[in-house]
């Protein structure tokens, strides 16, 4: 299972990634979680099940959904407050729920 987070430069999302990894480790889940910048997204998208957008780049939702949803990637925007408070557990939970939904 691979979850990818994307924001403008991948900096603030990388902080959330650490919290999500912690949350995943606590539940001993085998999840690969990474943060990338919008520019380098293409290089890292292979194998991704869930693509989460930082709320500050939610204007990319339409474009990225159109691009990756046909390939079976779930695309969603991270909740603003979860994002701001760096609530890794909640974001991970929602990502897992998304992945469970489609496949």
């Amino acid at each position: 299972m691979k979850i990818l987070l994307v924001c403008s430069e991948g900096m603030s999302t990388s902080m959330l990634v650490q919290k999500m990894r912690q949350a995943a480790a606590e539940r001993s889940l085998e999840v690969e979680i990474d943060a990338v910048s919008e520019v380098s997204l293409k290089k890292h998208i292979a194998g991704t099940q869930v693509l989460l957008l930082g709320p500050q780049v939610r204007y990319l939702l339409k474009k990225l959904s159109a691009e990756y949803e046909p390939a079976g990637v779930h695309v969603a925007v991270i909740d603003m407050v979860d994002y701001g408070r760096m609530n890794g557990a909640a974001v991970l939970e929602k990502a897992l729920a998304l992945a469970a939904q489609g496949s």
Binding site: P55, R58, L60, Y83
Partner: protein, 426 residues
């Protein structure tokens, strides 16, 4: 009221979406990003050679002798900062063609050739003026790369390419794909060059300097121009949209160019022409991120009484030192919060005003044009960006205090409100 609010939000959101996904702006951004490491390395060397500490200069002089730092301006800068236009020209055209899901490499190559074609070789010396590759030609490079990239993809998409029989190996036939576009684009560039010889400008770059670079630089580095850009940036962030990314995608070419014009003047020991530059915006106005939030974070860590603010403060402190402030912006939250949006928009505008006029009247030093990464901690960034001038640090301290005072009443009452809410929740 609610209807009006969501109307504005939708309008802003739509415009922001359009700008953020605008292909040519994205290509320009990607092309300039490609050159960023070179700009930063060139700047590092400049700081090393020009560090204004007498003891340090004497020490280096005693070891390496007279002119020990010349290698920086003569060797390193021309190969890093001085290549901006070339790198941008290639990078922008390649990114633009890539964005059409075509192979961008030939597009970048052709743009580069067109760029050389449109400039003038010094035939007698058989030499290109090194200035052509660097600062003086950035807008020429951008225009050429956008036009060449766009033409390239039109020609390839219209299948105006040389078709070889199926029996020819694909890699061989691919090498012919770029042939027709290259011929068409370069001939067009040549025609444009010849036509401009007939005009009073003499050549295309001079025309661009007079009619594009000069007016855009004038508007974009003026006080009202930069205040407007800043206002838009803050309003977008207030709606939870990455305002900095959107505003810089439009303003970066102008501000970067101003930065490098300052650097050229700094090298020549002349007065610095611009107040507003890329480093001015990124290193002076963003105190811990857009909206000058670092003073608030420090307030929250030390003085906040509510649990929420304490938690957000602790979470935001370390990223804030490196000018990343999404945790404050979304966690406090400032986004969609009419009360906290006031200081969030007001404080950078006040700082801009103080800094601009402080530099205008030469009370504070201007940015010398070295590129400092935007993640450089406050105070260090001001010191380096002004060419290791303590005046830059003093200005940053004043700005910090002013931002703190603007934020103080708002964050205090927000804290009180949270304390109240938390006690009610118990």
């Amino acid at each position: 009221m609610k209807g009006l609010k969501s109307f504005f939000e939708d309008k802003f959101f739509n415009v922001a979406t359009k700008i953020a996904n605008q292909r040519h702006l994205l290509a320009m951004r990607d092309g300039l990003v490609l050159a960023m490491p070179l700009l930063i390395i060139g700047s590092l060397f400049i700081i090393i050679s020009d560090f204004p500490l007498q003891a340090y200069q004497d020490f280096m002089l005693s070891i390496f002798g007279e002119g020990w730092g010349d290698f920086v301006w003569n060797d390193v800068v021309p190969a890093t900062t001085g290549l901006l236009s070339l790198v941008a020209c290639f990078g922008i055209a390649k990114s633009l063609v890539d964005s059409y899901q075509l192979d961008g490499m030939p597009g970048g190559m052709i743009a580069l050739a067109a760029f050389f074609l449109i400039n003038n070789l010094d035939v007698e010396a058989n030499a290109w003026n090194a200035d052509l590759f660097g600062t003086s030609n950035l807008f020429v490079a951008m225009i050429i790369s956008l036009l060449a990239g766009e033409l390239y993809r039109v020609i390839v998409q219209r299948k105006l390419v040389i078709k070889l029989p199926d029996s020819v190996p694909p890699s061989v036939s691919r090498s012919f794909t770029a042939l027709a576009p290259a011929a068409i684009i370069l001939v067009l560039a040549l025609v444009v060059k010849m036509l401009f010889r007939l005009t009073p400008f003499g050549d295309f770059p001079s025309f661009v300097t007079a009619f594009v670079t000069a007016p855009l630089t004038f508007a974009g580095t003026s006080y009202p121009g930069s205040a407007l850009a800043l206002l838009v940036e803050q309003i977008l962030w207030s709606l939870g949209i990455h305002g900095s990314s959107i505003v810089t995608s439009v303003m970066e070419p102008i501000w970067l160019n101003a930065n490098l014009e300052n650097l050229t003047a700094f090298q020549a020991g002349q007065a610095l022409p611009h107040i507003i530059t890329q480093t001015f915006v990124e290193n002076l106005l963003w105190i811990g991120g857009s909206g000058a939030t670092l003073p608030v974070v420090i307030y929250m860590v030390i003085f906040a009484r509510s649990k929420t603010l304490k938690q957000v403060g602790r979470l935001s402190l370390v990223p804030g030192l490196f000018n990343i402030n999404e945790p404050v912006v979304f966690g406090l939250p400032i986004v969609m919060n009419p009360f906290l949006i006031i200081p969030y928009i007001l404080s950078p505008l006040v700082i801009l005003t103080i800094s601009y006029f402080g530099m205008f009247f030469n009370i504070f030093p201007r940015m010398v044009g070295v590129t400092i990464p935007w993640t450089t901690p406050y105070l260090i960034s001001g010191y380096l960006a002004t060419g290791a001038n303590i005046g830059g640090v003093i200005l940053q301290i004043i700005n910090f205090v002013v931002a703190f005072l603007i934020w103080l009443p708002f964050i205090r009452s927000w804290d009180r409100r949270n304390v109240l809410m938390e006690s009610q929740a118990n």
